[in-house]
Symmetry: C2
Subunit: 385 residues, 2 copies
């Protein structure tokens, strides 16, 4: 028995999407699930109680950031990440790989691992599969991610192939180095860029390693939505039915729905918190920039259909004033609403799966939100641009 | 019957401090009371629900800031300040005078009023007693303050006298201009700098005008504590027993206790929110700078004796990490604790008054907090420096 298990509850007859539940040492959460990102042991602007109020079932922590500051050893001495940040529900930590490639300076990728300079102070560091496991074991997350190379988009076939193969070798080393299998479960990460055969090879190699769950990495890195959906359609069927599937870095409403339709169970993204901090909020009719002057005297809630604390208590005009006045409550309220909007969307997706009508839900949502109806629709060849 | 009334419940036999209750159209609050400052329609970093969690009974709004941004007319159209910011308990607004003198550029004080430039965009404005009333009527605060001139410290006798006399003439004009006496009560402000005879004259003139409450302004502007206490001792006895007394701009624990001992019922100050944002927090053993490196591995609460949400859930080490990482949750938690610390102090002061032992409480608190025992003690001549 692994620390983390997946329970499949229902498959949507209209789409094949999966309603499920992931069980962890810190409790269970329903899937498909969206995971708010708590990069530096804090989901920006939110307290743990507020995360519970928006009904977050699991959050994500970033290994790279926590390793650099305050340091994994310190967090271990504090009793682990859950206790350090006072979050008693499940936590997933990434491997550090993505940030090493995207944030750090002067990175040097070798078979042994990656040498890089901290984006904070320029200090030199080395993270290998073994080091990533050591850090994540110290953090004590429920779900750990294998240290992988996330290839950029676009990426030529040869690089993508070599990178994918190294990711598999690193996954083996991660599995061997992981020290706490009773309390923490390690997920493998399928890579292979936009090449279906590489994705399929990666999925095959990793499922042979029998991880308790699988992520699909290297998508949502700039490629068009139809490519992502295409790759998902060719990858998720190769992953075991009885294990959770996590699509990394996805958080826009359309991608969350279309990913669910393709059998994804977990998602994460900084989108709702990042755009919230900048004054952009989701509504059922599409995004609005609530700090814009045109909302100064709009005394209606951000979204009249939203059930969140923000929409029950504050107006667009007030939130606009807070942004203009640089009051931190403004970015808090926008973040709070955005997180609840996405978590409510996941609730709606789960309900639609249960009722075998996720495609109907998708079409209603897209139409109302203002998405192009073609974007990301399960693709026939004719739909492709 | 005025909109705001004061109920005297008990006078401390040991000190003469007053336990009371102020009744307003938005409910009642116990006194002595500390009022958190919500300058721009937000107590920085706090939501209205959090203000209730720390048991704030009344908050303060700044007329100068709200007039400039978003504008009192807009707030009136939003349904008033309570509704605009979603705060259903009492609100006191200041007159705008203090900020005109301390923040605005190129101010020109005339008998008619004050011309000044906005600190935001340099635009030119004019606030008179009548204009201040118009703004505060639009905001709809429960307690409005008369437009006064707050003389600086030190201030020569002639200037202080002329300023105090103009403040009285302005108070008369405010009373005449105030349009909403059924729902809002206007307080007069005693001025006179550090001159006991001017303070007494001011108190006499204002009490003849029969305001529903009185503030003592122009203290806590840089003068030593013994001078403030001396002036208070000579002023509060001249104010009516059955009306509330408000000492403006006071918020350090010693001044709150010593002000209460001298018969003050209400206080306000940005101190707890301002120092909190900068990483300084109150503890029962004195202030600490929680963002300092020495707290990095201190996994105890800010104050083991504090009952607040922050102290029940987070450690100094975690809060220190949030400050170092520039996570806004850090300044929220420090602010939250500081407000609760002062509001709990007021609860303790009220309890000590009820038990006729406020001087004992003062001495215990000062000793533990690390205050010099002489500071601000009710003064005999020998105590004065």
């Amino acid at each position: 028995m692994t620390a983390v298990t997946y329970e499949l509850i229902h498959v949507c007859k209209q789409t094949g999407a999966r309603l499920g539940r992931v069980h962890t040492p810190h409790g269970s959460f329903d899937t498909p699930a969206f995971m708010p990102v708590g990069t530096q042991a804090s989901v920006k602007g939110m307290s743990p109680d507020e995360l519970k109020e928006v009904k977050a079932g699991i959050i994500l922590g970033n290994t790279y950031h926590l390793y650099l500051r305050p340091g994994h050893e310190l967090i271990k001495r504090a009793g682990g990440l859950h206790r350090f940040m006072n979050w008693d529900r499940p936590i997933l930590t990434d491997s550090g790989g993505f940030q090493v490639f995207s944030l750090a300076k002067l990175r040097d990728i070798q078979e042994e691992g990656v040498t890089f300079q901290s984006h904070i102070d320029g200090s030199k560091h080395f993270i290998s599969p073994e080091k990533s496991m050591e850090i994540q074991n110290a953090l004590g997350s429920d779900i750990m991610m294998a240290f992988d190379e996330c290839a950029p988009y676009p990426c030529d076939y040869d690089y993508a192939k070599k990178s994918m193969e190294m990711t598999t070798r690193w996954a083996i080393r991660c599995k061997q180095a992981h020290k706490n299998v009773e309390k923490q479960s390690l997920f493998g990460i399928v890579q292979g860029s936009t090449y279906a055969d590489l994705r399929q090879e990666s999925a095959k190699q990793l499922t042979e390693l029998d991880f308790p769950g699988y992520a699909i990495g290297g998508l949502s890195v700039g490629e068009p939505g139809y490519i992502m959906n295409d790759i998902l359609e060719k990858t998720t069927p190769l992953l075991p039915t009885h294990k959770p599937r996590y699509l990394m870095g996805v958080g826009s409403p359309d991608y969350l729905i279309d990913g669910s339709i393709r059998g994804v169970d977990m998602f994460d993204c900084v989108l709702p918190t990042r755009i919230g901090r900048n004054g952009t909020v989701f509504t059922s009719k599409g995004r609005i920039i609530v700090r814009d002057a045109k909302y100064a005297e709009d005394f209606s809630p951000i979204d009249t259909e939203c059930d969140c604390y923000v929409c029950r208590n504050f107006t667009r005009g007030y939130i606009r004033h807070l942004f203009k006045s640089k009051e931190t409550l403004g970015l808090r309220l926008a973040t709070w609403h955005n997180l609840r909007f996405l978590l409510k969307l996941m609730e709606d997706i789960r309900k639609a799966i249960r009722n075998d009508r996720l495609m109907d839900f998708r079409n209603d949502f897209f139409r109302k939100y203002g998405y192009e109806m073609t974007t990301g629709v399960p693709l026939s060849e004719e739909d492709k641009p």
